[in-house]
């Protein structure tokens, strides 16, 4: 199989650049520091590389190539307008340290996004600096940590998370030095208030929870949970990974949360790019705002002494929060993601609620189509609902244990077989509290026809010869990949020998 290192043309074959400004470009750098031999990068021409990467792209599955029901990841369509905007020189060719009068447009967009996100989550202040959801969690927990220290509560050293939480929650709190208290979910997959009551105490710094939960069900006791944590002196942190389900219907502020992160790459459709970039702004209530990372975008009425602004009557500037924790990323966050999210939000404006309605409509419709297809065959059932709710929110889970018990077919086998039908597999084995879990999130940008076809294909797969599933996939560029071998042989780069 060929790799990019098979291109090994003449040293002169590569891309052309202008010559250095001087005849002796390294006159200022002594021999001691000089590199002895160059890195063994490929020697390739543009035509060869364009074909190389085009062929690679054809072996990659994206939302653009098919339905991508990867639960918890909100793989919705990425509008191409957003890509067009970030190529404009007014964003691509901007340095984060340019003087304020040279970045009034960027500051105006930052300010508008801070305001919009505050409104949507019922928070008082927002920073756009964290560059991924996990970094948002980390940043918010850092702010909460400083808040406790400032109030003589620095001894609070425990963070509570439900056992259904995203793995990033405990990992982020742990990086701030907190001990993690994991509480079990109740029978219905929702938070167990009794377990929470016995977990809180004078050592509780915060509780981290997402709502709807990772099972896709709304935490109906959330207000009471917030009261329990607050009465114990802890702070409530909202993991915004599932915000796509409830925008405009409720918000973390009303539910009683003190801090929240937003995944701009989920809710506001920044492309996921094979694993990133993301963007994870956080919103906080007033009492936490002085600790936010620096700087925030701010504004005042423009005066005659100011240079020209963006024409809206305001002068925009960077401002440092009073007791800032400093920086979590070196600059001002993933500005490109912020601008994309801005363009996305402008498409909906005050109608953002429609987006959540359709995300929930599609999830319930798909769940209905799949479970209806199994109706009347209880003894032959191949799955159970992950959570017994009447309605779900933006995603739902299936427990494939009956299938496994019947013929040894695992959730993973089903997932792999879906690839043959031209679908991305749902999220596998998460949340860990549902055995043999498949987690589906169709998002609002899939049509009824796609959902119907997927439900039919999914049910077809469940009735196929088990051997076909166990050896799936069959039609993909490579067949099932040996992950154990990969971890054992650890070939992490090309071998030049």
């Amino acid at each position: 199989m060929s790799t990019i290192f098979d291109f090994n043309g003449a040293p002169s074959a590569g891309w052309s650049q202008p010559d250095p400004l001087t005849d002796d470009p390294l006159s200022g750098i002594g021999q001691t520091l000089r590199r002895a031999s160059l890195p063994r990068w490929p020697r390739a021409s543009e035509p060869e590389l364009v074909r190389h990467y085009t062929l690679l792209s054809q072996k990659n599955f994206g939302i653009d190539t098919g339905f991508y029901p990867l639960g918890s990841c909100t793989m919705k369509h990425n509008p191409r307008l957003n890509e067009r905007i970030v190529q404009l020189p007014g964003i691509d060719r901007i340095h984060p340290l340019q003087p304020e009068h040279q970045v009034q447009g960027l500051l105006a967009i930052y300010f508008e996004m801070q305001e919009m996100l505050s409104i949507c989550a019922g928070m008082d202040a927002v920073t756009l600096q964290p560059v991924a959801g996990a970094q948002g969690e980390f940043t918010a927990i850092r702010c909460i940590q400083e808040y406790h220290r400032a109030n003589g509560q620095g001894h609070r050293d425990k963070v509570i998370v439900p056992d259904s939480a995203h793995g990033t929650n405990p990992a982020s709190a742990s990086m701030c030095g907190y001990e993690i208290i994991e509480i079990p979910s109740g029978e219905d997959g929702r938070i167990d208030l009794e377990a929470l009551r016995s977990a809180v105490g004078d050592d509780t710094a915060a509780m981290m929870i997402t709502n709807p939960s990772t099972l896709g069900v709304f935490e109906t006791d959330i207000a009471e949970a917030a009261r329990i944590v607050h009465e114990a002196g802890g702070q409530m942190y909202y993991d915004g990974a599932n915000f796509n389900a409830i925008l405009g219907k409720t918000d973390p502020g009303i539910m009683g949360f003190d801090a929240v992160h937003y995944n701009l790459h989920k809710t506001f459709s920044q492309p996921h790019g094979g694993g990133g970039p993301g963007s994870g702004p956080i919103g906080v209530k007033e009492h936490l705002s002085e600790f936010l990372p620096s700087p925030l975008a701010s504004r005042r009425a423009i005066t005659e002494d100011d240079p020209s602004g963006v024409g809206d009557g305001y002068w925009y500037f960077w401002e440092e929060p009073k007791s800032t924790i400093g920086k979590v990323q070196q600059w001002n966050g993933n500005a490109g993601a912020v601008v994309r999210a801005w363009a996305f939000y402008r498409r909906y404006g005050k109608e953002l609620e429609r987006m959540s309605e359709h995300a929930v409509l599609n999830a319930n419709y798909l769940r209905h189509r799949i479970t209806q297809g199994m109706a009347g065959e209880a003894e032959n059932a191949t799955f159970e609902q992950g959570a017994p709710a009447n309605v779900v929110k933006h995603e739902f889970t299936l427990n494939m244990t009956p299938m496994k018990e019947k013929n040894g077919v695992t959730a993973k086998d089903v997932a792999k077989r879906l690839l043959d039908f031209g679908y991305m597999a749902p999220t596998l084995y998460f949340p860990q509290i549902v055995p043999e879990c498949l987690m589906f999130e169709p998002t609002e940008t899939e049509s009824k026809e796609v959902l119907d076809k997927f439900a039919d294909d999914f049910l077809t797969i469940l009735s196929e010869d088990p051997e076909i599933l166990k050896s799936a996939p069959h039609t993909t560029p490579v067949k099932r990949v040996d992950e154990v071998l990969a971890a054992r042989q650890l070939i992490l780069k090309y071998s030049y020998e």
């Binding site: 590199r35 970045v103 793995g167 405009g248 490109g336 992490l492």
Partner: protein, 455 residues
């Protein structure tokens, strides 16, 4: 609103489920926590009008290419080959996510495996991951990684020595990442001539790690760093932050004893883009592999024995190991790393060398010309530099830059913003695009600014 294929036929779908209205789908949200008022936001817009607004707002920004610019301070005003954004934004790459299903993700997996190889070659270390958020988070997580690996047997457990000549923003990121987990940071001092104090560096022997940068925050290349490995001993991790382009001409830290190398990948692949998305590179020796942060691609085979790629060593990661994970990183900067890989491949070894020579040449020439301006002196005379150098002025750096700005030149970075004591100094950054005309305009402006004060 044009993003919803089922708009206008909600009722059919609801009916099929035995529901009457959208509100039925939200019946599980208790009254107590419902939003009662609509979102106080403006109405929806069409694509056309959003683009018009974006153009209007972004035109109010001054782009770096519109004038001579000497502002760098860690980000590069680079030139990105046209091929790069065009190919990287192909939908198959752009709209994919973390390749959890390798059978349909071979394209991105192979591209990232190739990226790992090119980064590994660049810094001369055997292992690289598929990116961190930026150079600062890469440095911070390199430190926590080194402590995990080294602390148990260290004479100075949980202690790390960090060069005082790193950008304060990066130091702040490092503090945030280390403060909660009991890591003690000691600062490594420099001598007056801008070089690491190698005598003081002996203190670091027996600690978990030393973090230095080559070049440092003032652009100074420090030959003394080549001796650090011998000074701190074998059991202390040597972490080096690099200017990735400089490695086209400067010896790779892996060849002078570094255990972990981090840096800003941005010069390869993407413009400064207002500070993000960019990507951090992270490479290390095999000793750190199992406790390092971030995603890693490994080669394997499929059931028919064909070469295939997959994510590997995932048991380090948060989705499996939860609070015991080596990092909380989940989403990273893969797409930007892909752009970086494309740019690196297009350069090739000789292209990289030329790129570094262009930058070195521009830095040297600019420095020589700027020094001809009366009243200008180097903060660290007679040092070897790459990309940047710091000068002292007879006036405040802030005022000088503001005056130059009025004359249409972005003259550099006000070091007073980073260090109070350096308020009469500016950091001048050069790159492969610096031209003779740019240098002439910079020196003309500096001359005017200084003469104005003298009058």
């Amino acid at each position: 609103m044009d993003q919803l294929p089922n708009l206008g036929r909600e009722h059919d779908m609801l009916k099929e489920m035995g529901l009457n209205s959208m509100e039925d789908l939200f019946e599980d949200i208790p009254e107590e926590v419902r939003r009662t008022a609509p979102l106080p936001l403006p109405g929806p817009q069409s694509e056309e009008s959003i683009l018009a607004d974006a153009q209007r707002l972004l035109r109010a920004n001054v782009d770096l290419d519109s004038r001579p610019s000497f502002l760098s301070a860690g980000l590069s005003r680079n030139f990105v080959p046209s091929m790069v954004p065009m190919l990287a934004t192909r939908g198959e790459f752009l709209t994919s996510y973390t390749p959890y299903q390798p059978e349909v993700s071979q394209g991105m997996l192979q591209a990232m495996w190739e990226f790992q190889t090119m980064v590994s070659e660049l810094v001369a270390l055997p292992v690289a991951n598929v990116s961190m958020y930026d150079a600062s988070t890469a440095a911070a997580e390199a430190i926590t990684c080194a402590v995990r690996v080294r602390s148990k047997r260290a004479l100075q457990p949980n202690t790390v020595y960090v060069s005082e000549f790193i950008p304060p923003h990066r130091m702040s990121v490092i503090e945030n990442y280390t403060q909660g987990v009991g890591i003690k940071i000691e600062m490594l001092p420099h001598t007056e001539d801008g070089l690491l104090d190698l005598v003081a560096a002996k203190e670091a022997a027996g600690s978990c790690a030393v973090y230095v940068e080559q070049p440092n925050a003032f652009g100074v290349l420090d030959e003394g760093l080549l001796q650090l490995r011998g000074i701190i001993g074998e059991t202390t991790a040597l972490i080096v932050g690099v200017d990735a382009v400089s490695l086209g001409v400067i010896e790779a830290p892996g060849n002078w004893g570094a255990d972990i190398v981090v840096g800003e990948g941005q010069p390869f692949g993407i413009g400064p883009t207002a500070g993000g998305p960019i990507y951090g590179i992270f490479a290390c020796t095999k000793d750190y592999l199992r406790l390092m942060p971030g995603r890693i691609v490994g080669q394997s085979v499929d059931t028919e024995g064909r070469v295939a790629y997959t994510l590997t060593l995932s048991t380090r990661e948060q989705h499996i190991r939860r609070h015991r994970a080596t990092s909380n990183i989940c989403s990273n900067e893969t797409l930007i790393a892909l752009m970086g890989a494309m740019h690196m491949a297009l350069l090739g070894p000789e292209g990289l060398e030329k790129l570094a020579e262009r930058t070195a040449s521009a830095t040297q020439l600019t420095m020589e010309e700027v020094l001809k301006v009366e009243g200008v002196s180097l903060m660290f005379p007679e040092r070897e530099v790459f990309r940047e150098f710091a000068i002292n002025l007879p006036i405040s750096g802030k005022n000088a830059l503001e005056r130059m700005d009025e004359m249409g030149v972005l003259g550099g970075f006000d070091l007073g913003r980073w260090w109070k004591s350096a308020e009469n100094s500016i950091l001048i950054g050069c790159d492969e695009r610096t031209s003779d005309d740019d240098i002439r305009m910079l020196t003309d402006c500096l001359r005017v600014v200084i003469e104005e004060v003298a009058v």
